[in-house]
Homo-oligomer: 354 residues x 2
DNA sequence: GTTAGCACTCGGGGAAAATGAGTGCTAACA
DNA sequence: TGTTAGCACTCATTTTCCCCGAGTGCTAAC
């Protein structure tokens, strides 16, 4: 959308002011606020035009104006265009070094929340495309085998397999060799029915044992592909913004951040979009966020490991700072990854099946 | 504390009524509510006595009475005593079967929250006293070894160990045998400096490799002993109780449920108390909960696996129902455990170290 | 020991009034 | 033709005021 220069300046001034105060902005304020040297009456005329265009709105007669979603969109687009090349990468968030990815991501969400005063979410990296490094089977008892799967990117998954019949220590070893020979280097997506049936043939007398193990492995691998782990922080920050905390959906919002599962939709839809995304109000892929704005950035740790970082706040969020911060963070994550190549990784899990 | 029968009846009536309505209870209400056949004037006299004893209080002159913490305590003690033997174990919560302990515990918190309309927390079982079943080392590359630890109760932990120097496939195998021979059957608490130095002697030329591995293992095992995993649900239920949601600590309360870490104190202090605990207001081990009541039950899955289930609500919570529900749940968990002996267990983890 | 009666207290709710920020419109001005 | 001063008007918000009623404490009678 093109806009007369003066109108654009006035709109920007209105939005800037509203971002700070959260109160409707009147013509007199703008008249003093800008360097346009125009009287409030003139501003009023322009504001009437902007309102007609649907960029600003009056909450009620005799109140100042506040931006509409469309107004914010104009502002954000303009800002993104202008700032494209000059984000302040210097702002390094103090990411304390921690010993596990899980803790690191929690920490990241926390630091971001503390820095921005908005609610944050970080999705743990998913690893489609990720290749198997090795599988290690260990016999636990007569009819149970522990399968440990390690993929590129050094992600470890383990699953305890309930065999249908007893299996000997020897057979487990054979299976181990067989599985590694057949599956090594495959991406997790490539393990399909075809391969399973091939494996069964190769397995010969071990064939009955192959199926439960492969099923369990596939299940363990797939388990969080649809439901990536999400870490959140700063949910309570939304209480700092009356227009959010008093909104009827505040409870739902907090609920969504607690259950995490509802945020999945947001994560999935941002995941395959390059760069930094800004969703304003109704643009959000997720109903409960329609009173908020969401800014997401996707990160890529290589080896097909990627996830997103998101910030949820009121529509009058400080887009400039948030986008800048996320931009810097992306670079920092890249740096961490490079540095990480030679370092160690650890993980743990626990689970019981019916 | 002993109380005249009539006073006790009146106190109980006041509390019962207040639990339902959340409004101060007047003398006339009690006069009609009970089967005592007393006029409101008489009730007033008794109420004055109860107030003097610190069991009830007037929010302001010309208002009815509400129970104090002490009043609730009296009520709860009496109720616990009376109901000691007759909790309705029949109330079976519908626990949908799920494939992993983690999911099961989340589910449990969720179901409890939905059933009680309070906020709930469930701590994942910790396993002090738990004995090692086996350790499986796998060489990942020249200087990295994956250690997978399985304990009784079939809990799996894994950690990627960064060796100080290169290690051969052969040496990993030797280490594997050595570790299992030495550590098998020990409880995780028993792995101490003594054992490590013994192991070093036995390891001979492998000695330099023993230390990083043992350190990593010890660390992986200890990692969530101090910080048990906590699952929460229904935090937003507190909005249903104005006295909580309008309290200044509501934000902190929700924050604590989000960060989870602050709840740890509560978990730890309930963990070593047998049976069902009720904390009323100031009795809570945790500052932020002083406007709430907390009911906790510890569960024991055998093999030293134990944790707690907790319910957090307003002081005017339906203690009777909550205690009953938790009582039933305890039994149900026991049943599940028994049934689980023969079934499979799985888990997964991911982490990166600096 | 119990009860009826009565004066008193005090929070809550609602109406009315005062406030003030901000508008739209008109007429004058450059 | 665009800009501005001026003015009447609107309406959410705040303040004030008053009334109502639930509930109490106390006293005197039963």
């Amino acid at each position: 959308m093109e806009l007369e220069d003066r109108k654009s300046k006035i709109l920007t001034a209105i939005i800037r002011n509203y971002l700070e105060t959260g109160e409707p902005v009147g013509s007199r304020t703008i008249s003093k606020f800008t360097d346009l040297q125009l009287s409030s009456a003139t501003i009023r005329n322009e504001m009437a035009d902007l309102e007609e265009m649907g960029l600003i709105i009056q909450p009620h007669t005799s109140a100042g104006r506040i931006p509409t979603d469309k107004g914010y969109r104009f502002y954000v687009d303009q800002m993104m265009e202008a700032r494209k090349h000059e984000f302040d990468d210097e702002k390094q968030l103090l990411l304390q070094r921690v010993d596990r990815m899980e803790a690191a991501l929690k920490q990241l969400a926390k630091v971001l929340a503390a820095n921005t005063n908005y609610a944050t979410l970080v999705s743990a990296p998913t690893y489609t495309q990720n290749k198997l490094k090795f599988i290690q089977l260990s016999r636990v008892d007569e009819a149970k085998v522990l399968a440990v799967i390690m993929t590129q990117g050094n992600i470890v998954k383990s699953t305890l397999v309930d065999m249908n019949e007893d299996i000997s220590e020897d057979d487990v070893l054979k299976m181990n060799v067989l599985l590694n020979a057949s599956l090594n280097g495959l991406s997790v997506d490539e393990i399909n029915l075809n391969i399973i049936s091939n494996l069964k043939t190769e397995a010969k007398e071990l064939a009955p044992a192959v199926e439960p193990i492969l099923t369990a492995i596939a299940q363990a691998i797939a388990s969080d592909k649809d439901e990536p782990q999400i870490y959140t922080s700063g949910t309570t920050n939304i209480f700092k913004y009356p227009e959010l905390s008093q909104s009827s959906s505040a409870t739902e919002l907090i609920g969504a951040f607690e259950e995490k599962q509802p945020l999945n939709e947001l994560v999935l839809s941002s995941m395959n979009k390059e760069g930094i995304q800004v969703y304003i109000g109704e643009e959000s892929p997720f109903e409960n966020l329609k009173d908020c704005s969401v800014v997401t950035a996707n990160y890529d740790l290589g080896d097909g490991l990627h996830g997103i970082v998101g910030i949820v706040g009121p529509k009058r969020m400080d887009y400039e700072r948030v986008v800048g911060t996320l931009h810097g963070l992306k670079n920092q994550l890249d740096a961490i990854y490079k540095e990480m190549g030679t370092k160690k990784i650890s993980g743990s899990g626990i689970g019981k099946d019916e």
